[in-house]
Symmetry: C2
Subunit: 392 residues, 2 copies
């Protein structure tokens, strides 16, 4: 096991109707003037925004608003948010929405007290200060409600890049599974795929003997495999929604990743798809993740056998371990298709002829990207190619 620090100080406020406690929690964590950040009009239409505002009013917390966050959130709105927050002397950012809204809020939180361009933090610089951030989560997917990560797309060149710092870990996150019940099946499945991908990126490691982290990974994956089809069949199933929502958080506080190397290449390879085609991140992952597995499984066949047997319930073939490994990957693709996810370029709306462009945007050049298997530009092209043609 490698040495590590684990730090997840967010207070998770989980359950029915708990957005009504927002105001009290903002006060508890020192907020007096809030920037309320959200996406489209659904937050207003559903009454959620009204309940959040009423809670802030009741607790005497002032606020201004900035809506309009789009999926794969853009830098232009972040600049607008920074300007507004400075003008209104905001001391707390409250994100009401899914991962995109939260990621945008985190970018604003870092940008407000910083004299330079906030994009610096998405180019490798670490922030020294940030306004406190909190969330009211409406989509189970990104895990941003419990992480110190944020991903923003720069409109100039459609560059999708990440930032990470403990300073942008939410102070609290309100998680009411009821809020996710109106989410259409497709978006629900995209979220579930993203959650599973967050685990897989931590599961495939070269560090030996981290059984506890393996088992925690498998716990989340087994939960998702049980609960996701229940939600697709019955969107109003509160219990299944609740299990998925909490699993999504557990998947991304890093408790399923500590003590070892991780591999985030599938996320990186996918980011180029959603940046170029503006497809859902989860749908892109459904296409890329199994393709990546198929490309790298020979690097550690036993590890893929562990996934196949422990996670996907396959019988171990001790005479032909490679077949067991491949059966696990196939079972993953069957699962993804069963919940309505695409598994190849055509189903996603991506084009094989764009592969050279995707590889170029990935930006490796002659270098390699680290992880379970160190990948070159040629490797990444090969993974896109598998993803283009995958089928069952």
């Amino acid at each position: 096991m490698n040495d590590f620090n684990f730090y997840s100080p967010t207070e998770f406020v989980f359950g029915r109707g708990r957005e009504k406690e927002c105001g009290a929690y903002v006060k508890k964590y020192g907020g007096t003037r809030v920037l309320l950040h959200y996406g489209g009009s659904s937050a207003a239409r559903s009454g959620l925004l009204g309940r959040v505002k009423a809670s802030l009013d009741t607790c005497g917390v002032a606020y201004c608003e900035l809506g309009g966050v789009q999926p794969n959130p853009h830098d232009s709105l972040v600049y607008k948010g920074i300007e507004l927050a400075r003008k209104e002397k905001v001391d707390f950012i409250l994100a009401v929405g899914g991962g995109s809204v939260i990621d945008s809020a985190k970018a604003i939180a870092m940008g407000v007290p910083y004299e330079g361009d906030f994009w610096d933090f998405y180019s490798g610089k670490q922030p020294e200060k940030a306004l406190p951030v909190a969330t009211v989560l409406t989509i189970a997917a990104a895990g941003s409600e419990g992480s110190g990560d944020s991903v923003i797309t720069k409109e100039d060149g459609m560059l999708k890049r990440g930032a990470g710092s403990d300073l942008i870990r939410p102070r609290f996150s309100v998680m009411n599974p009821e809020l996710t019940q109106t989410l259409p099946a497709y978006q629900t499945a995209c979220g579930a795929t993203d959650i599973m991908a967050h685990v897989f990126e931590r599961y495939f490691t070269n560090t030996k003997e981290v059984e506890i982290t393996d088992r925690l990974c498998e716990a989340v994956l087994l939960t998702m495999i049980k609960e996701t089809p229940r939600v697709i069949a019955d969107p109003d199933n509160y219990e299944a929604r609740a299990n998925i929502m909490w699993a999504g958080t557990v998947a991304h506080t890093n408790i399923v990743g500590v003590g070892r190397e991780q591999d985030w290449n599938s996320h990186g390879i996918e980011h180029e798809l959603s940046a170029l085609y503006d497809c859902a991140h989860g749908a892109g992952l459904a296409v890329i993740m199994p393709a990546w597995m198929e490309y790298v499984y020979k690097h550690n066949v036993r590890r893929f056998c562990q996934m196949a047997t422990r996670v996907f319930g396959q019988q171990m073939d001790y005479e032909k371990p490679e077949e067991t490994a491949l059966k696990g990957i196939t079972a993953f693709r069957y699962f993804l298709r069963s919940i309505g996810m695409p598994i190849n370029f055509a189903e996603l709306g991506a084009k094989e002829k764009d592969i050279p462009l995707l590889v170029e945007k990935f930006g490796l050049g002659d270098g390699r990207t680290g992880g379970f298997v160190h990948l070159s530009s040629e490797d990444i092209a090969a993974i896109y190619k598998i993803a283009a043609h995958a089928d069952l």
Copy 2:
């Protein structure tokens, strides 16, 4: 799933030699004058205390010392610690040791800023303030390094009682698995049993459909079943020690317990044993926990079948589920015996004739204690009786 809050703000600093970073972390969390609290002379002999002091010195952090914490820590030393901390104007308590030292440190932390008797917090009162606490953990067992709980024994009447508050959650916990390598096999096994009990107390619930929490419980149990025998066979196995140490923390931050009712009766029933006989808490649990299971399993046979199949690898007998349930409990006892734990009164050094006294000290009278099954004094006597006679 029930509504819940989950809050675990402790920074875990995990790995080889990391006690050398103590001073820096005390400073990071605002400490300037530390009470260094520890147990016997082994912390000094092993050089650990010297390394901790050197780290405090290097960082310019002042400290005073109070050693002498015994297993099942007593109130008398807590009073002494409170007096010393006040006299020395301490603003931070650093516990160097296992659960007993940490629990004692937490009691001192609550007592220093409180005008009344600290025992009030062990009689149901909630503290409003506490000095910050941090730990350098030397035994994987109690989970106190990541919990807001503390258990202290009042010498007058040998009453063992618990307190709980977010205020006494450690700010940071240094966890170096190397420090546990010198621990004798018996104490190591006691710790492992305690860790498993912390999970089981959360596993047996009447709340339905909390799959994610079930799976996380099973993840910790499966890890313990794999790693504990490795450590008993080879005490210097760093990897196994590391897995157990981190599993012990995961078992008790409450991440394996959220969203449902819990049942802490086995801990309560055991506490009377360790208070009366001064036996190790883990050894007492090895005797009590399976006896409790045997007494209550008919309340929910399917739940015990889940334990038997998912945790102890039993085949499900769909025609005779009760037999599967019992096989799981038997497998647990075999496991406990395999790691050198007692499974009945004689092996523990307890006496069947004391059962009426144990029941009286438990103090239920004509009432019942809640949980998976609500237990009366007669039920508790029956569980002690099963524990007295258990065998394989």
